[in-house]
């Protein structure tokens, strides 16, 4: 695992409340340079809320989030300049073309125009979107939108990449491509944090894994560390179900009998 000691993503006592409802409570973790950090949890556990707080899309109710040492709330420009984000739903300007969107993002990050042109062409080629580059995004399939969203996040070569369910809606080939790209980015020293429902992806790709349940981080560590704290479970699926609702799973099995 090519990590070093620099913590590029830090959550310190991070919490978010919506009125009386606690969405995330006292989350503490770090993601280091060169590391792929998986964020798992059942639906509504608080994964997206946590990621949005890290990126600066949501204001935390408690605690702080730091990106590359910059507090996302008090130093947002510095923190956002080194961070790339892919949301769970690729809401993109439907009436822009893929190329126009990437140029727009390049301008937002104040990249050199020549660099934007070069990176745009590279990324469109990498994600096999070259032939659709001048089509409006409204005509893209979900997978194509997901890919252009990832291309936008990679355009400024970020040292921190935060992805919310990046492989949802992708065909196996595109999902594999994204996995390979993420591994290469991590090897170049970037910190990657991704949430996923697909435990196989987390198991194969992630150097460390955190499991969130009902807003609380209930486990964090490498797969071996999670296994050693469990009751002899071998697979991540067993560990996950044990921690987040094995009993409910048993009930479902009963119903299906």
């Amino acid at each position: 695992m090519p990590t070093n000691n620099a913590a590029l993503i830090e959550a310190v006592h991070l919490g978010k409340n919506y009125g009386q409802k606690v969405a995330v409570e006292d989350a503490n973790f770090q993601v280091h340079a060169g590391e792929i950090f998986g964020f798992l949890g059942p639906n509504g556990a608080g994964k997206t809320t946590t990621l949005k707080m890290l990126v600066g899309l949501l204001k935390p109710s408690t605690g702080t989030a730091r990106i590359a040492g910059f507090d996302i709330q008090s130093q947002p420009l510095q923190a956002k300049a080194v961070c790339g984000y892919v949301p769970d739903e690729p809401n993109l300007y439907a009436k822009l073309s893929g190329r126009e969107l990437l140029r727009f993002v390049g301008d937002l990050y104040q990249l050199d125009p020549a660099q934007v042109v070069r990176r745009t062409d590279e990324l469109l080629r990498l994600f096999e979107l070259t032939s659709a580059r001048d089509d409006m995004i409204e005509s893209y399939s979900h997978g194509m939108q997901q890919k252009i969203s990832l291309a936008a996040a990679l355009l400024h070569d970020p040292s921190v990449l935060i992805l919310d369910e990046p492989t949802v809606g992708l065909d196996p080939k595109s999902a594999r491509l994204i996995k390979d790209i993420l591994r290469q980015i991590a090897e170049r020293g970037a910190a990657i944090m991704l949430s996923t429902h697909i435990l196989e992806i987390a198991e194969r790709m992630c150097d460390r894994i955190a499991i969130i349940h009902r807003g609380k981080l209930i486990a964090i560590g490498t797969l071996d560390e999670l296994r050693s704290h469990g009751k002899g479970e071998i697979s991540l699926e067993d560990i996950f179900l044990e921690l987040t609702g094995g009993a409910e799973y048993a009930e479902i099995s009963e119903v299906l009998k």
Binding site: Y18, G19, V55, K59, E100, F104, V105, L108, E138
Partner: protein
């Protein structure tokens, strides 16, 4: 273990399926009402009572008016009986075309652009039931609105003419059948059109055409002149109205059937009414029969062809706009401006915002020129500069309409795409100034063009035109700052349709009041000194204008800058849910 095919499903009947789907909508409506806040419930009840009061008032008013007009027939030479006999036919014709036009858009949305289609198609329901339930739900609002206007009038006619009681239920039945026939035809048209043009494009074009048409219709009274109810003109008007309901028209037969039933001519009445019901019912049945195939194949075709209907964009357009502002503006700011102008231009529905002030402007110029050419004096005050001030007021009105739309929706237009700006290292000031420029430039272009044309028509000289442009330009800048502040504070970021985006809750109303108050104060500050100079005859007009410009300049610049400076910190809170 689940055993496939353990319990074979019997195919549900058409009407049972329709009832299931309609009941779901009823439950949703009831649930929304139950969960609403107490003040919202009270408002809804008051609104319902208001509708009942309007309908009752309409009925009483129609009854009294028709009785009065019928009494005129007895005492004067004007014969209104023909007009009243033709009224049901006219209303039915109007009902048909109103429902045909309004339902086209409603059905397009309900049949092809709603998000529940995957779920409904996957469910074991007859396709015809899905079509029928969607059709009923789509036509209900328009039909209800039409009935609110038409029923009091037709019932008033029945009461004033002492028609037989059978007339009243038959009016409702015939009206319903005519509306269903029109809706069925609209459904077939929608199903045919989306086979050629993508539904979203049709919706955009329809939105644009609908907006332009509604404004033109609303202003047609101003363009045509006042309605004079005297002597020959009234007879002419009656003949003109009657010409809309010629004897050969099926709607005339339907209307005559109702009148005959009301006045006791049973044979012809029953025959014509039955014929109407049969023809419209057959039209509707034909639609239902074709829906099974047309709707499903059309909808399924869209699913496979949606990614083929690609719109390629010109590669240079955005870069050209970005390059233009390079020496003056920061890159992110330029880029947002370029992006916003592209998006405004590419979505036809946005163009209706631009067209509205142009049509109003045209009507204003036309009306004012007509009133000037008549003998009526514009004002009893002897102000020499009155044409200039009138030009300023009209230009402000035209520009206000456009600016209000552009500025209050400036932030909300980002909608769910806002995350892209929010996740980028973008300074709040850049975002605000970009939005400021995007709202101001089209306003200045449209309103100044209007001011120029008006000045040419009224022979206002160039110096005065410059004064008009300066006063209006500064006023718009200040107004833009105030309206953008509302946009930052109260934008609803969930809406997708450009015609529906706007401010949350009462902020839309508040922003309108604030903008009118601002314009009134601004006008008083700009025009007060020169008007006083003219009225009191103390000093030169130029000096008065200069004083007005200096005071107005301070006021408008403060209005442009202060709200945005104060709200810079709020930019980070845009789109944030409440804690």
């Amino acid at each position: 273990m689940i055993r496939a095919g353990a319990r074979p499903l019997s195919s549900p009947g058409l009407w049972h399926s329709v009832w299931i789907l309609l009941r779901m909508r009823l439950l949703l409506t009831w649930s929304n009402f139950r969960r609403a806040k107490p003040y919202q419930k009270i408002f809804q009840v008051i609104f319902l009572l208001f509708i009942v009061a309007v309908a009752t008032g309409g009925f009483v008013f129609s009854q009294m008016l028709i009785r009065y007009l019928l009494s005129l027939t007895a005492t004067t030479e004007i014969d209104l009986t023909r007009l009243f006999n033709a009224l049901p036919g006219l209303v039915l014709a109007l009902a048909f075309f109103f429902n045909l036009l309004t339902n086209f858009g409603g059905l397009l949305q309900a049949l092809y652009l709603s998000r529940d289609m995957d779920f409904l198609v996957a469910a074991p329901l007859p396709m015809r039931a899905v079509f029928l339930s969607k059709l009923i739900l789509a036509i209900l609002p328009g039909f209800g609105l039409f009935c609110l206007a038409a029923l009091p009038m037709l019932f008033g006619l029945g009461s004033a003419s002492t028609y037989h009681p059978l007339y009243y239920p038959l009016v409702v039945i015939v009206l319903t059948f005519v509306a269903l026939g029109a809706a069925g035809l609209a459904g077939v048209l929608v199903m045919a059109v989306v086979r050629v043009i993508p539904p979203r494009r049709v919706a955009e074009v329809l939105g644009f055409v609908g907006a332009v048409l509604s404004i033109l219709i609303s202003q047609s009274g101003n363009l045509l002149g006042t309605f004079d109810l005297r002597g020959d003109r009234l007879t002419g008007a009656i003949n003109q109205i009657n010409s809309f309901s010629p004897a050969w028209s099926p709607f005339s037969w339907a209307g005559r059937g109702l009148v005959d039933i009301g006045s006791g001519a049973w044979l012809s009445g029953a025959g014509l009414t039955l014929l109407t019901i049969l023809v419209t019912g057959a039209l509707f049945a034909l639609t239902l029969a074709s829906a099974e195939q047309l709707y499903y194949t059309g909808w399924a075709g869209l699913r496979t062809a949606s990614h083929k209907a690609k719109t390629r964009v010109k590669r240079v357009s955005r870069e050209r706009i970005v390059r233009r502002g390079r020496p003056l503006l920061a890159t992110p700011l330029r880029s947002i401006i370029a992006k916003d102008f592209l998006l405004l231009r590419r979505d036809l529905r946005n163009l209706s915002q631009l067209i509205t002030p142009l049509i109003f402007g045209f009507v204003l110029v036309f009306s004012s020129l007509r009133s000037e050419s008549s003998d009526q004096p514009l004002s009893t005050l002897s102000i020499q500069d009155l044409p200039v001030y009138t030009n300023i007021a009209f230009t402000l009105f035209v520009g206000w309409m456009l600016l209000f739309n552009l500025a209050t929706t400036a932030v909300a237009r980002e909608g769910k795409n806002y995350w892209l700006l929010n996740a980028a290292p973008l300074r709040p000031a850049h975002l605000l100034w970009a939005k400021f420029i995007v709202a101001l430039l089209p306003t200045l272009a449209v309103s100044w063009l209007f001011a120029g044309i008006t000045a040419a028509l009224r022979s206002i000289d160039l110096l005065d035109l410059g004064y008009v442009l300066l006063v209006t330009g500064l006023s718009f800048a200040g107004l833009n700052g105030i309206l953008l502040a509302f946009s930052v504070v109260g934008s609803n970021m969930d809406a997708q349709d450009p015609r529906k985006i706007g401010l949350r809750g009462g902020l839309g109303c508040l922003s309108m009041v604030a903008s009118l108050v601002y314009l009134a104060i601004g006008l008083a500050l700009f025009l007060g000194p020169p008007v006083l100079v003219e009225l009191l005859k103390t000093g030169s007009l130029e000096m008065g204008r200069l004083i007005g410009i200096i005071i107005g300049l301070i006021f408008t610049l403060l209005s442009a800058v202060l709200p945005l400076l104060a709200l810079r910190q709020r930019v980070a809170m845009i789109g944030q849910p409440k804690d």
